[in-house]
Symmetry: C2
Amino acid sequence: MPRFTHPRLEDVPLDLALHALADPNRLAMVARLAATERLSCAHAAPCESIPKSTLSNHLKLLRAAGLIETTQAGREMINTLRRAEFDQRFPGLLDAVLANRPA
Amino acid sequence: MPRFTHPRLEDVPLDLALHALADPNRLAMVARLAATERLSCAHAAPCESIPKSTLSNHLKLLRAAGLIETTQAGREMINTLRRAEFDQRFPGLLDAVLANRPA
DNA sequence: GATAATAGTTCAATAATCCCGAACTATTAA
DNA sequence: TTAATAGTTCGGGATTATTGAACTATTATC
């Protein structure tokens, strides 16, 4: 099973971070993680209708953007927001984005 | 000659705004406009090497995102940042993005 | 005025990305 | 062992991005 590689935040360019956030589904997942701390991939999904492979791809993108960390726990993958690190790298950015997210 | 249509900011979804900003060239243009107030398309370009058609397309995207307004002045198109409107629609967002932009 | 130059748009074709079903892997449950 | 679960990876079709070439409108020059 894959052991994921997580980038150092200093290696994440702003563009990549913005791109990761510039999608309703991904942003919804980030918002959930911001509120919930730990979520399996399936539980992080914004809705049931989104296919597994698409979801997996979204989470991969969020990982590459330094937004989430994924660790294996049994047969689940547990995702957490790398909030402190992300906030240190891009001060105020995630707050501003989340604050402007539609309800 | 085209008379551009500019969206009402309330009709601009967050995703579109973030997507518009999630590109180094477009973000550089926004930063220039934030500093310079009025720029023709060519002068808004972040570098010489970027082709005209690409530049035109970038500016179209920025318009669609409610970030810039383009008006014709002679044979130039003058672009200005719709900062007040954008800030009202997405409070703190543009500030946060610009503040985190690489130098 | 005609001609050329300028500033940018639009079009069309190629390149790069995204999405998602199908097949696969690893772990737990029966 | 067999089945179920949780997710990844792969491949191809659909979408989007990039850019050269042709075009349009405006100003400058002769």
